[in-house]
Structure formats: structure tokens, C-alpha cells
């Protein structure tokens, strides 16, 4: 039993020293122009999804479900999100592919999140990614309109798609 405890303690010490040494000696790659390995992508993506599901509110979008709401959100999206997340009807964003992890391309992939979860992610951002919090720049009501737009981005009413024009200049 005494030996078992010694084994347990040395495992903890070896792991802690190993992790610290790995980091402090600079062995952890930091270059962002690579793609996360499959296991890393799967583990980190599921960690983010699970955390968002656990924390985001489970409420309905308080804004009316109307084309006006979608257009308001779409204009915000075209101004501020499109540079990384890509524009509807356009090829995926090259700039979004320069981040690690790569930026989700909503016009192609859609989103697995509910509107409340999209609202929450836009508002608070996602740690350890390029997704910074939008709460200082946008009101809750603006972020709800954005959430409504993103959740319908693959299936926009024609009037909305038309009203939301791609930006004229390179977002970069």
C-alpha cells in the first residue's frame, strides 16, 4: 500500500514537471499556420460546445422573427464578422484560414448552436481562439439580431439576402 501511494505521488510529480518543462523549454508549437491535429480539434471543439451548452442561457430570441431583424443582423455580420467568418455566396474567407484553430465558415457550415448560444458566444467570445468578445461594441439587442441572422445564414429569405450586400472593400 505504501508503494502504491509512492507510485501515485511520483506520477503526479512526473506529469507536473513534464508539462511545465515542455512549456517552459519552448517545445509547445505556437505557429498558427498549421492545422490542429484531428484529436486536438475534436477534443477542443467538443470542450467548447459542451461549455457553451452548459453556460449559455436557454431562452428564446426576444426580437420579433422578421425579415427586419434578419436584415439588421445581416448588416452587422457583413460589417464585422464577414472578414473572418465568410460571406454568403462567396468563397470561404482566406483570412479566417490564417487563424489556429481555423474560423468556422457559417455560410457553408451553418452552426450547431441555438440562437441563445450564438448570442452568448458573440457576446462573451471564446478563449484560446481568435473570437474576441463583442459585448463592448454591441448592445444585447444588436447581438440578438446577429444570432438570428447566423442561425438562418444558409437559408435566408431572398429579400434578406438581397438587402444584405457584400462589402465593397477587402475586409482585411
Amino acid at each position: 500500500m505504501k508503494n502504491f501511494v509512492w507510485g501515485a505521488v511520483s506520477a503526479i510529480v512526473v506529469l507536473a514537471v513534464g508539462v511545465l518543462g515542455y512549456l517552459e523549454l519552448g517545445f509547445a508549437s505556437v505557429a498558427a499556420d498549421a492545422r490542429p491535429s484531428a484529436w486536438e480539434a475534436s477534443l477542443m471543439t467538443s470542450a467548447v460546445h459542451a461549455s457553451v451548452r452548459r453556460r449559455a442561457p436557454t431562452i428564446e430570441n426576444p426580437l420579433p422573427r422578421s425579415d427586419d431583424t434578419l436584415i439588421a443582423g445581416g448588416r452587422l455580420y457583413m460589417n464585422d464578422c464577414v472578414g473572418c467568418h465568410g460571406a454568403p455566396g462567396q468563397p470561404p474567407s482566406d483570412f479566417g484560414a490564417t487563424f489556429y484553430p481555423r474560423v468556422p465558415q457559417f455560410p457553408r457550415m451553418g452552426s450547431q448552436y441555438s440562437e441563445a448560444q450564438l448570442f452568448w458566444v458573440a457576446k462573451h467570445g471564446v478563449r484560446m481562439s481568435g473570437m474576441y468578445p463583442q459585448s463592448p461594441g454591441y448592445s444585447d439587442s444588436q447581438l440578438w439580431s446577429l444570432a438570428s441572422f447566423i442561425s438562418r445564414i444558409r437559408d435566408l429569405p431572398p429579400a434578406v439576402a438581397k438587402a444584405v450586400q457584400p462589402p465593397a472593400s477587402d475586409p482585411r
Binding site: 501515485a8 489556429y100 478563449r127 468578445p133
Partner: protein, 169 residues
């Protein structure tokens, strides 16, 4: 001895399972609108610094380091970097973010010029710093100009600062 090995292996397995469970069950905080705890920030930044020092090329900048080059680098910086890293001659902004981007005009940088070149070219994983050496980004020459400018950003010659900021109010 057998018990020692058993204790070692079962503890290792327990830690790994615990870690994966912690992540998969959504217990890890993801919100980025709070700053990282002091220890997280220290550990992250020292790991990044060590990794950059290990990987950056040990070469001299091919640039001539003239004021004209600083100005050229400064114009690239104002266009492509200032949105996150701040402009020279402005007070630092209060930043929200898990690891907020450094405001070079105020904090300077601990990296050498070749290290800055490498960071701008390859970016930094799991941050908002993307890789600007990829197609559609900057040429090697532009990357060196930016590195030179950032290296000197905290103490720019007045003439350089005036030249960059004129026409860029």
C-alpha cells in the same frame, strides 16, 4: 515494486480521464471577456516566448534600418496591425480579452527583430494573432519592415512618427 508501478499507472490514467472528462462535460470556462488569471497568463506567455525563441530564425534582418524603412513599416502597421495592437501616440485602450493583444507603443516588446518577423509570419496559436505569411498576407520584405517598426515602436524618432501619422489622424 509492483504496487509502485500500479500506483503510478492508475494515477496517470485517472488524471487523463479526469482531464478529458472535464473538457467533454463542458466544465472548462470558455468566456473570453475576463482576463486570464495571473498564473495562466504567466505560464502562457512564457511558453510562447520560449517556443518563439526556439523556433525563430537566427538571422539578421536583411533591411537597412533607415528612417524611410521605419516609415514604410509604420504604414503597414497602421493598416494591418493597429486595430488590435494600438496606434503610436494614443493612450492604451482598456482591453477585454482572455490574453489581450499587447499595445507595443506602451509595453514595447521582448522579442528581437527576427523573432517578431517569425511571429507575424506564422502567428500564435489559440490567440487572435493569425499567420500573416500565408498567401494573401505579407511578403517577406513587408514582414521584415513590420518587425523593424514594432521593435522600435516604443521610442520612435519624432520625424518618423510625424511622417507616419500625417494623413492618418
Amino acid at each position: 515494486m509492483k504496487n509502485f508501478i500500479f500506483g503510478f499507472l492508475s494515477t496517470t490514467a485517472l488524471i487523463l480521464v479526469g482531464l478529458i472528462g472535464y473538457l467533454r462535460l463542458g466544465a472548462a470556462e470558455v468566456r473570453a471577456d475576463v482576463s486570464a488569471a495571473g498564473w495562466q497568463s504567466r505560464l502562457f506567455h512564457s511558453a510562447v516566448r520560449a517556443s518563439v525563441k526556439r523556433n525563430a530564425p537566427r538571422v539578421q534582418s536583411p533591411r537597412a534600418h533607415t528612417d524611410d524603412e521605419l516609415i514604410a513599416g509604420g504604414k503597414l502597421y497602421l493598416n494591418g496591425c493597429a486595430g488590435c495592437h494600438g496606434r503610436p501616440g494614443r493612450p492604451p485602450r482598456s482591453q477585454t480579452g482572455f490574453f489581450p493583444p499587447p499595445e507595443f507603443a506602451h509595453v514595447g516588446t521582448q522579442f528581437s527583430e527576427p523573432e517578431l518577423f517569425w511571429v507575424v509570419k506564422h502567428g500564435i496559436r489559440r490567440t487572435g494573432m493569425s499567420a500573416y505569411g500565408l498567401p494573401g498576407g505579407y511578403s517577406e520584405q513587408q514582414l521584415w519592415l513590420i518587425a523593424d517598426f514594432v521593435e522600435h515602436m516604443k521610442d520612435l524618432p519624432q520625424s518618423v512618427r510625424d511622417a507616419i501619422l500625417s494623413g492618418n489622424p
